[in-house]
């Protein structure tokens, strides 16, 4: 009650600007439950008012009127908290698509609600089909390009990768010279880093 749980849910998002945390099912459902309760209370008071005053006209402020108002406002407040939680998470999920590509790492995927996964997939499909139509990968060159080739250092063992027309073995700490556009997704995923040595 009081909209406290709703605010707590929203506060969770302000702890970090970019990160995604695990979808908070418990708190989310708790707020949903509160909305149900407020709805029930409003209906109860409205029935009372109806019996007292069948015309439905509210002539003056009384206890029932104030009570119904407070429950109604609480309901709306909780709704706002829930929607804001979902909306802001959806924004961050869109950003994931740009930064990590269409396939998320397992541990990031696990943080999402099933319907958020579905949202990500639809979003990714739209973006993908647009990029196919214009024949351009919009997710690369997020920072302005310099030389078309850069030197990278491998941070995690990756194994055989097809680069251009040949396969290269990317093992940990090895240094490679590769196309910038090919390196960019790997860097973004934290597998390799740009090497200025």
């Amino acid at each position: 009650m009081y909209g406290r749980s709703g605010a707590e849910l929203v506060r969770e998002l302000t702890f970090d600007d970019h990160q995604i945390r695990r979808f908070n099912h418990d708190l989310f459902n708790k707020v949903l439950g509160e909305i149900q309760e407020h709805y029930y209370q409003v209906s109860k008071i409205m029935t009372l008012l109806q019996e007292e005053n069948p015309s439905g006209q509210i002539m003056h402020v009384d206890g029932n009127y104030s009570g119904a108002l407070i429950h109604h406002q609480s309901l709306l407040r909780n709704k706002r908290c829930l929607l804001s939680y979902l909306y802001n998470r959806a924004q961050r999920i869109q950003r994931l698509r740009w930064q990590l590509g269409a396939v998320l790492p397992e541990d990031v995927r696990d943080l999402l609600h099933p319907s958020e996964k579905e949202f990500l997939k639809s979003y990714s499909d739209i973006l993908g089909s647009y990029m196919t139509t214009v024949d351009l990968d919009l997710t690369v060159d997020a920072t302005p390009p310099k030389d078309p080739y850069i030197k990278i250092r491998v941070l995690q063992h990756i194994g055989e990768v097809l680069l251009g027309d040949q396969t290269t073995s990317l093992s940990r700490n090895s240094i490679h010279f590769m196309k910038r556009t090919e390196a960019e997704p790997l860097i973004s995923q934290g597998l390799v880093e740009e090497f200025n040595g």
Binding site: M1, Y2, G3, R4, A7, V10, R11, L13, T14, H18, Q19, I20, Q41, K44, I45, V61, D62, G63, N64, Y65, S66, G67, A68, L69, I70, H71, Q73, S74, R77, R80, C81, L83, S84, Y87, N88, R92, R95, L96, Q99, L100, V108, T143, P144, K146, I150, L155, A183, E184, I187, S188, Q189, G190, E193, E194, N196
Partner: protein, 183 residues
């Protein structure tokens, strides 16, 4: 409507103010820990979150009392030395809440107080933001309200990214979402 999804705005409205009920309210006893039945009586003094107080006071069901952080004592303190007052501990959403309360309570001097507070603290924030070093989060930040923190960070972050660019030039970076994990 533009602020409907705004996280900050939602949290500002979660702050609590003390109010007096002009009318009885039925079925909301949970608001008033002192109430014996399920109702809040006329004349009861109840702490309400801002989002609820806003609407009820507009309908003249309650009257909102100005919280102590906008009271005479704090005003005097701020006037004496605006930059040194720890406003964060008094109210983290000092300015945002002040604006909303000026509207609700109709206090004619509140707006002016907010403005002179901001003016008094602005220069210090400016100087500290532009000179703060790359790593340290200065103690100074613990004095700042939310809005001041954002202002401070805007300045400091520009300085940081500029320094970083000067030292190493443009560089590709991993996605911030992965930031917390070890390298």
């Amino acid at each position: 409507m533009s602020k409907y999804y705004d996280l900050n705005d939602i949290l500002v409205e979660d702050e609590v103010v003390s109010t007096v009920f002009h009318h009885k309210a039925n079925g909301v006893g949970y608001l008033d820990p002192g109430s014996e039945d399920d109702n809040v009586e006329k004349g009861a003094v109840v702490e309400l979150p801002l989002w609820l107080a806003q609407d009820l006071s507009r309908r003249k069901i309650i009257q909102v009392n100005l919280p102590p952080c906008f009271g005479a004592k704090v005003r005097k303190e701020v006037q004496a030395d605006p930059a040194c007052v720890n406003l964060r501990s008094k109210c983290p959403y000092f300015y945002e809440m002040g604006c909303k309360l000026a509207d609700i309570t109709g206090d004619p001097s509140l707006g002016g107080f907010l403005l002179s507070t901001l003016r008094g603290r602005y220069r210090d924030i400016l100087c500290k933001a532009l000179t703060s070093t790359i790593t340290s989060t200065p103690k100074f930040m613990t004095l700042l309200t939310q809005e001041e923190t954002h202002l401070f960070e805007a300045g400091r972050d520009s300085m940081r990214t500029f320094q970083k660019w000067r030292l190493q030039g443009p560089q590709l970076e991993r996605a911030p979402i992965l930031g917390r994990k070890r390298r």
